[in-house]
């Protein structure tokens, strides 16, 4: 399948609305149907992708270094990082839970970073993946991004549920905020990506 085989609004000399899909003549500023700003190709889209991507990466580092959970019980006071928690669960034999957490907290975010970076870098280079595959990858990244928040939800639920003052307390650590930010930033990064550019020559 050649790129030329896929007609785009741009090759047709039109501007497509990314929200509602209607096409307009060049020069139109706002979609007359949904009011979204129109542009044939956002020249700064890639910049935003990279900006959110970097922001997400920056906060992802403390999310892994700093403790996710601060647990205090009568006899124990501990701080668990994400990876530490995975290792601990493995040590207890909870392979499934360990895998879920590892998948949601490590594999997905890291995969997202790599996918977005790959898409942003190879947007005009289709040597590794053709346009359709890239488009599908973008769709997957966008879809899966929100599920990374599962970790944050767990922490939030635990922190609110386990609160017996002296006996046992769980507090979210810095990593929880960092991780939530990281997930949010990567979602924004994926969203900033203009998949139409994939099809450009």
């Amino acid at each position: 399948m050649t790129p030329a085989a896929v007609p785009t609004a741009r090759t047709a000399g039109l501007i497509g609305c990314t929200r509602c899909g209607r096409v307009f003549a060049p020069g139109t500023e706002l979609c007359t149907r949904c009011g979204a700003p129109l542009s044939s190709r956002d020249p700064r889209a890639l910049q935003r992708v990279w900006a959110w991507w970097f922001a997400g990466l920056v906060v992802y580092i403390p999310a892994n270094i700093y403790p996710m959970l601060i647990t205090r019980t009568l006899t124990y006071s501990g701080e668990g990082t994400i990876l530490g928690g995975v290792v601990e669960l493995l040590g207890h034999g909870d392979y499934f839970v360990a895998f879920v957490i590892f998948f949601a907290s490590i594999l997905i975010p890291v995969g997202k970073f790599m996918a977005i970076a790959f898409l942003a870098l190879s947007i005009r280079n289709h040597r590794f993946l053709d346009e359709h595959a890239q488009h599908r990858l973008h769709a997957v990244v966008e879809f899966i991004g929100r599920w990374s928040m599962i970790d944050v939800f767990v922490v939030a639920i635990l922190a609110s549920l386990v609160r017996f003052d002296a006996v046992a307390t769980i507090n979210p650590g810095i990593a929880a905020i960092s991780f939530a930010l990281s997930v949010a930033f990567t979602m924004l990064s994926a969203q900033s990506f203009d998949p139409r550019a994939i099809w450009d020559e």
């Binding site: 990466l57 920056v58 906060v59 501990g78 900033s192």
Partner: protein
Amino acid sequence: MTDPEIPSPQGEVPQMQVTPARKRWWHQLSPVWLVPIVALAAALGVAWQSYAGRGELVTISFQNASGIEAGQTPLKFRDVTIGVVEQVNFGADLSEVLVNVRVSRDVAPFIDDGAEFWVVRPEVSVRGVTGLDTVLSGAFIAGRWDSESSGAHSRFTGLEVPPMLGGPDQTGMVVVLRLRDGNQISAGAPILYRGIEVGAVGAPRLSDDGESVLIDAFIEAPYTERLTSASRFWDASGFDVSIGASGVELDVKSLASLIEGGISFDTVVSGGDPVDPGDSFEVYPDENTARDSVFTSANDATLPVSVVFDGSVSGLTVGAEVRFRGLKVGEVTDLGAYVEGEGTARRVRLRANLELRIGKLGLGDEATPEQAIDLLGTFVQNNGLRARLTTASILTGGLLVDLVELPDARPAEIRMDAEPYPELPTSEAALSDFAATSQGVFERINALPVEDLMEAAIDALDSFRALAADPATRRVPEAAVGLLDDTRALVTSEDVAAIPAEVRAIAASAREILDKIEEGQAVENLIAAIGRADRALTSLETASEDFPAITSEVRSIAEKVDGLAMEELLASADRLIDSADALIGTEEARALPAAFTGALEEMTVFLAQIRAGGAIERANSAISAAEAAANSINEAAQSLPDLSERMSGLVVSADGVIAGYGERSRFNTELMSVLRDIQSAADAVTALARTIERNPNSLILGR
């Protein structure tokens, strides 16, 4: 024309390729870039903050890290967490555990080389439960340091036991206590002042010379005012059992001090100088010793000398006193035997090492051991100073070393070259002297012919009664009617007239003696009274010298009586009767009163014998509690009632005899009064006997 809204692709394509004039690159920047920048700044800020705020690393070494967990165990200062153990690892040769603690930055500068660290774990001791909170939270490391920063330090050796002494933040004073041994004391034992806990001691440690045990004692602030150079410490550990005049006394201090030991102190006399921190104090074994020590000289220097004894030193113990003129000047520090000489001349000698307190020798507080040994040398040469074993207690048989001055002793001098200490010359142990003396005294007391004397006297009186009761004697009056006339003439003579008075005086003296004995006066009184009686008797003898023949006759009877041969006595009595018979009508019958003189003389002899036997004086002073003597005297005294009874009997018999002489004669009257005197003397003897019976010791003890 095409619809402008739907341009044809062909015509519009070049238009679409046209991009606006290139703006400067930063005009093209998306504002979203601010987000990663802010995120980066925030992350860097957090990183920097955590790096900068993570504090100083302090390494504390412990013997073991029981209860210490990396990342868990906090370091607390005044119960505030100021750091957390970051790492626990071993020292270079695994001999110690290095605990790395991250200490907060604002506290770190105060942790200087005076800081102390220890691990607080739950601990249950006799003093209570401490560190209970650590049961749940786990052990923590406690530290303390003063509030002055004098150069941060990063390497410390942790204390294995929590310090009991007040830290820099506690006000008080640390003094050093010196003990003979640390048996009774464990770290944390209380310091008591009049039973109030005013401090605690640290762990005992050995002094540098290994001679004593040193303990740091912390005394809390207000009580340090009670501490002066005149204070004395003593071991209040355990309990004291003392047996004294008031019975058995059990003195238990606090329960804690019973188990952990304890040290009490008191300031016995006023006027001590203030004490500086770190001053050292001796700990005395008990309160009495501590209090007594106040009156010893300030000069604690001692002079070691040794003494070699030939005889047995059984009873001499380490710690026995060394006395000089009754004053304790030192004590025995060591006893041992060594072999001297070669071949057949070899013999074992016993050596005692003495420690003389120089301050006690009268040389003043500044005297040195050299001066002291010089002084001793002079005494040895000039005054005959010798060491001698003496019995310290007759009950326990304990010995002490007495430094005595024997001017007659063979010349000797201190052997300065003797090992290990200069050797003092010795003299014969006073021990054997004493034994001999006491033995002798006992023997002499035992040998006192008290019983014999009593029996002799009783026999003599019996003889007189027999004499008086004898029909032959009864015949005398009848045969002696004329004699009475002569006697009357005799009585009227001045000499004879004086006799009864003399006799009465003797009787009075005897009564006085007995009274005084009864009154429990000292034997001296007895002897003095005997002396008086003796003098009186002498004058009586002088008065009676006109009648030598009958006197000697009677004396010979008395001697026979004294000899206690009954048949001889009877024979003598017969002879007396014969003699008396023969005397009747003779001039010499006038000497009849002399017979009474003789009887009294017997008493005098009896008393004189008591005096002669009477090392009693010495006995009395030598052994106050000689039970055996008391018993023998007591046994002898059993005979006293007998004696007095017989004396009474004699009086009765004599009464009967005298009745025959005529009732109203003056002689008779005088005689009656003499007899009454004898009677009262007999009564006195009876009373004495009763007294002795009731309380045999009274004779000896003088009470």
